[in-house]
């Protein structure tokens, strides 16, 4: 990893407007947890937290959106405006460039998601059943790493990374994997839920993932490594188009 690229990318990603938007996104689950505590509902805090707060809101919306923004911007913005030439023209292994970009895209997402998950879960559960908190926090942090790998890859393969990422998140993960069971093996969301289920060890009534926990963990590792390898390969063969 290259420290200069890591710091440069963090500065790119954490511009005032983008940072505020991502913080606002991270605050959503906290607000939802507060509303749940104030509302009069028949659902148990454990079940509401696992299925609605963490699965329904954090894993399905906040996690992919945040990693989509950071993951596609980390390198995609430089490709779009041409400043990537300053990285390409340096004597650096392409793996070092990509791993620095990945670390810079993952770190802010992981920190914000971990904080958001911890605070919102603690509020919603009222301090009980910490296994849900541990399970989902670890799974979400791991999921954010895999999503970052995937979205970084998307940004070097297409100029429309944000649109491609949104299609993946909302069409593929949100609709297709719900309709066709077999496609769940190609869903970072399902991997994340599987790992959360594995670590949280909740009862089936409280929360149950569609994917086996161990399989989810293995698939997560495979997806991350494949996405990273494809990104490095593509970036090593990256061509700068010219106007003349």
């Amino acid at each position: 990893m290259n420290g200069a690229i890591f710091v440069l990318t963090l500065r790119q990603l954490l511009g005032k407007r983008r940072a505020l938007s991502m913080i606002a996104l991270a605050v959503l689950p906290v607000l939802a947890a507060v509303i749940f505590r104030l509302a009069d509902t028949e659902m148990t805090p454990q079940r509401w937290t696992a299925t609605h707060l963490l699965d329904g809101l954090v894993v399905t919306i906040v996690l992919p959106l945040m990693t989509l923004v950071f993951g596609t911007t980390a390198l995609g913005m430089e490709i779009e405006d041409g400043t990537v030439v300053y990285l390409l023209s340096k004597p650096l292994r392409r793996f070092d460039v990509i791993s620095s970009k990945l670390a810079a895209a993952w770190l802010p997402a992981a920190v914000l998601l971990a904080l958001s998950t911890t605070i919102s879960t603690t509020i919603a559960l009222g301090g009980s059943n910490l296994s849900i908190l541990t399970g989902f926090t670890v799974a979400i942090v791991l999921g954010s790493l895999v999503y970052s790998c995937v979205f970084l890859a998307v940004s070097v393969f297409t100029n429309h990374a944000l649109i491609a990422g949104l299609i993946y998140v909302f069409l593929w993960e949100g609709a297709v994997t719900e309709l066709f069971t077999g496609t769940r093996y190609v869903s970072v969301r399902q991997y994340t839920l599987g790992v959360a289920d594995l670590i949280a060890e909740t009862s089936r009534r409280t929360f149950h993932a569609d994917l086996n926990g161990t399989a989810a963990l293995v698939l997560m590792a495979i997806a991350g490594v494949v996405a990273l390898a494809l990104t490095v390969r593509r970036f090593s063969r990256f061509e700068m188009r010219t106007s003349g």
Binding site: L8, Y86, R93, E239, T242
Partner: protein
């Protein structure tokens, strides 16, 4: 620019291998041929890639810089293939054409970043030296997002020079610079070339190439139209028949007198203007005011009608 450029690294002294060698290089995008079977070698000194916009200069520079894979042929830089060879950048400095720089970095941070990415032993000292070379000390603490185009060009040059490369590639480096900045940049590049470096730059401005280059490669429609000493190419260009448009106090009288001049090969009077074709614009430029004066005619306007580079280049290609 008071600071002297440092002496070149020893690698630049290797004169047996050309710094840049292209052999039968073509590059196409789908059915469009951007560069067509070009071969040339470049050694120490300043070489200008001259050609109209869209001629293929940037494509050639990008292939030399290793940013584009040749569709056929080979591109070697300092003896090594340029494509997919990140090690060459230890010895190559690049100033890209695109204006974009990281707008949130100051000029100093931008050059320092380049020094850090080159893993120089003292990046701060190297950055300070490079900024001094391009005369940007006054503005180095300002964010590059607020720089003028000329300032961006200079800070990009500083970033390209920070590791003291023996080969410097510059894509339209004078775009947006004011005349003073241009002269200072040219003086710096000449000093660097005199110290043994190889500098290749592209331009569509004839005068820039004339002022700076020892060696010229004229690129037209993706082909190498001419190459060699600038003055020889310039002579070819001045042989090109030129047309001038004249407006005077008595166009008929002036036209009748000018037709007797040996440099004039034809003329016509249309829409109140006199169009004169000449085989030697240097001789015509001297003859026109003299003839006008002898005949008591006042010239109000004398404009070259076909001074676009495209017409000159088309002429070169057709030769």
């Amino acid at each position: 620019m008071t600071a002297k450029p440092p002496p070149p690294p020893t690698a630049a002294a290797d004169i047996t291998t050309p710094a840049v060698r292209l052999e039968g290089v073509s590059r196409w995008y789908g059915n469009v041929v951007a560069v067509n079977k070009i071969s040339f070698s470049v050694g120490p000194g300043i070489t200008g890639l001259l050609g109209p916009n869209g001629a293929g200069k940037s494509t050639i520079l990008h292939m030399i810089a290793g940013f584009l894979k040749p569709s056929s042929g080979s591109v070697k830089v300092l003896g090594s293939p340029a494509w997919q060879n990140w090690q060459i950048y230890r010895r190559v400095g690049l100033v890209p054409e695109r204006e974009a720089v990281y707008p949130f970095l100051t000029g100093y941070e931008f050059v320092l970043l380049s020094a850090q990415l080159h893993k120089l032993p003292d990046p701060h000292a190297a950055a300070r030296q490079a900024i001094r070379l391009v005369d940007m000390e006054q503005a180095q603490a300002r964010k590059t997002g607020g720089y003028s185009k000329g300032m961006k060009q200079r800070v990009k040059l500083a970033a390209a020079l920070v590791h003291d490369p023996p080969l410097l590639l510059l894509d339209e480096p004078f775009n947006g610079t004011d005349p003073g900045q241009r002269l200072r940049m040219m003086a710096l590049l000449r000093e660097m070339a005199a110290a043994g470096r190889t500098i290749v730059f592209s331009s569509h401005i004839l005068e820039e190439v004339e002022r700076l280059s020892d060696n010229v490669l004229v690129i037209v429609a993706g082909r190498l139209a001419a190459s060699g000493d600038f003055h020889a190419i310039r002579r070819l260009m001045t042989d090109h028949p030129h047309t001038f448009t004249l407006r005077s106090s008595d166009d008929r009288r002036l036209g009748a007198a000018l037709i007797a001049e040996p440099s004039v090969i034809g003329l016509e009077l249309t829409d109140g203007r006199l169009n004169v074709r000449t085989s030697d614009f240097g001789a015509f430029a001297h003859a026109a005011p003299r003839v006008a004066h002898e005949n008591g005619v006042t010239i109000f306007e004398l404009l070259p009608a076909d001074r676009s580079l495209e017409s000159v280049f088309s002429y070169l290609v057709s030769r």
